[in-house]
């Protein structure tokens, strides 16, 4: 192959320089990773989940390591939408990388208010609805396991914003296709698959859970097979639904696997913790993968699995 592969892609109403996006909750508000690489090297980023009011989050300990993975129960700690708009967004607006804002509400009304508050603000490239957080009592996964609830919240937000609307789904369901279909019909521009698996870790000597919240969300390489399966399942069942795939992506080949399974873009989460340059490295490695495989445009990988 001659020349560098064309890396741009388009997903859920956004054109991206390349398909690698930093995932929510693992990239802070973007600025935390700016010392480690130029954010223009990646396709985009998603902020930590933002709620109407500031949230302290759960009691510590909030994180623990597991085999090839980790559990977290942060509890959606965040500065609240007003402080986000005042303190975080101006910096993001100055970056040459689109930022999606991950939203967390405890009710449909809260999601709507958040979307209204952010609509039209400089620096907000897309909204990602987090209806899949396993670490909060209200909202979160409670919404995300119920297709009707997902449809309602998606439709309600759809009505108040013209921003690209991504809906982030939980893997902790019997039938991901039902939830995905509900979100698409209600007006989602893209589906993000997957959030964390509900898990738990125990310190046998202390006879205590390792997380103060007892249960938490499992992420990292351990869950990659589950993420790939869900992306493939949903991509087959809903042809044409734009998908952003994530779960355990650590290198360019992992990203290529998600694209082949049917994702139009990917997000890199936990890998940033093990290597603060992970997102940029994955983007570079994906380009190299394309070059090595004679793929002239990365978009040719999307859904290209021979199965």
């Amino acid at each position: 192959m001659n020349g560098r592969p064309e890396m741009n892609t388009s997903v859920g109403g956004l054109r991206l320089r390349n398909p690698v996006i930093a995932a929510s909750g693992t990239f802070g508000y973007g600025r935390e990773y700016a010392p480690y690489f130029a954010l223009e090297r990646i396709g985009g980023l998603v902020t930590k989940g933002v709620s109407l009011r500031p949230r302290d989050g759960n009691k510590p300990p909030r994180v623990c390591e597991t085999s090839a993975g980790m559990l977290n129960a942060i509890g959606l700690a965040n500065v609240g939408v007003e402080a986000f708009v005042a303190d975080k967004l101006p910096w993001l607006a100055g970056q040459d990388t689109p930022a999606a804002v991950n939203l967390y509400g405890e009710s449909i009304d809260e999601f709507v208010q958040l979307a209204q508050r952010l609509d039209g603000l400089a620096g907000v490239a897309a909204l990602e609805l987090n209806v899949s957080c396993p670490n909060v009592k209200a909202g979160g996964m409670a919404f995300g396991t119920n297709p009707q609830a997902v449809a309602q919240v998606t439709a309600a937000v759809r009505r108040v914003t013209s921003l690209p609307l991504w809906v982030k789904l939980t893997p902790n369901v019997t039938d991901p296709v039902a939830v995905a279909g509900a979100a698409m019909e209600a007006g989602a521009d893209a589906l993000c698959l997957i959030n964390t698996l509900l898990g738990m870790a125990i310190d046998a000597r202390r006879r205590a859970p390792r997380l103060a919240n007892v249960v938490g969300g499992l992420s990292g390489p351990a869950i990659k097979p589950v993420g790939l399966r869900m992306v493939w399942q949903v991509a087959r069942a809903l042809p044409g639904a734009p998908i952003i795939g994530l779960g355990g992506i650590c290198c360019g080949e992992d990203a290529a696997e998600y694209l082949l399974a049917g994702a139009s873009a990917v997000q890199v989460g936990t890998a940033s913790f093990a290597d603060p340059t992970a997102c940029a490295r994955v983007a570079d490695e994906l380009a190299r993968f394309c070059a090595e495989e004679g793929v002239s445009a990365v978009s040719q990988l999307i859904g290209g699995l021979r199965a």
Binding site: G25, T26, F27, G28, E32, Y33, P35, Y36, K48, D56, G57, P60, P61, R62, V63, C64, E65, S67, A68, G69, M70, N72, I74, A77, G220, P221, C250, T270, S272, F273, A274, D275, P276, T277
Partner: protein, 259 residues
């Protein structure tokens, strides 16, 4: 900085205590006492996360890490050999405020790790620090004791040992000696087990001496992004050990919630 550092040496000081030196010029230049680094103990995926370690010493281009083997990651680290490359990033977090003339450094066990570097910088800027260092027992820790004595004495920082079993220095707990040791001191820098930090903070409070504590918390990212490493704050909410800490004024910490 983020990148690979070359292992200079990885010297065993005691059964489970090692002193690692890393060739990391950029890190060495930027590091301040009390800051830490994130170190990947393998090049493979297991364990997944990097481990936080205090910066124990800086000598030219070399950064020293003093660590105890407590689990999988440190067990792997103990196998690192000279010349090997390890991924790391840092310096991270907020270190000690060193604007003191007669500070007392209080270490419990491995709490000596960040305090040695603090002593180095304090004497370099003309302060006269003293170190009070507590151990459960000095038995089997001869190498560590020697290393601490040697380098701090060279920096004309007086060292007093306290051991619970009396095997070295006075017998007892660091905190029992504290009221006396605090005389004439214009600030305390403290690192060690949580119970000790709290007792030292209380003693300092009683005597009106400003106390800075270096705290530990399980960390995922080390850079302020994951919100995993939080410490309950005195004014409600939480502080990130990796960002607002690891060194905090004792008064900023909500000690009851920390238990």
């Amino acid at each position: 900085m983020h990148g690979a550092a070359i292992v200079g040496q990885n010297r065993q000081l005691a059964r489970d205590v090692f002193l690692l030196s890393l060739q990391a010029p950029e890190l060495a230049r930027a590091a301040a006492p009390g800051q830490f680094l994130m170190l990947r103990v393998t090049s493979g995926p297991e364990p997944l996360l990097a481990r936080p370690f205090s910066i124990h010493a800086v000598e030219g281009d070399d950064v020293g890490v003093l660590y105890r083997v407590v689990g999988r990651g440190t067990r792997l680290l103990a196998q690192a050999t000279a010349g090997q490359r390890l991924e790391l990033w840092g310096p991270l977090g907020r270190g000690f405020d060193l604007a003191l003339e007669r500070p007392l450094l209080v270490a419990g066990g491995m709490g000596i790790a960040p305090l040695r570097f603090a002593a180095q910088r304090l004497t370099a800027r003309g302060a006269r620090p003293r170190l009070l260092c507590g151990l459960a027992s000095a038995t089997g820790l001869g190498g560590l004791v020697e290393a601490v004595d040697e380098c701090l004495t060279a920096q004309s920082c007086a060292v007093s040992w306290v051991t619970e079993d009396g095997s070295l220095g006075e017998r007892g707990l660091v905190t029992a000696l504290l009221d006396r040791a605090l005389e004439g001191v214009d600030g305390v820098l403290c690192c060690g087990p949580m119970a000790m930090l709290r007792a030292v903070a209380e003693a300092c409070g009683r005597q009106g001496v400003a106390c800075q504590v270096s705290l530990e918390a399980p960390m995922a990212c080390g850079v302020g992004a994951c919100l995993g490493c939080v410490i309950p704050a005195a004014d409600g909410g939480y502080l990130r050990a990796c960002q607002e800490g690891p060194v905090l004024p004792a008064a900023a910490v909500d000690w009851p919630r920390l238990a």
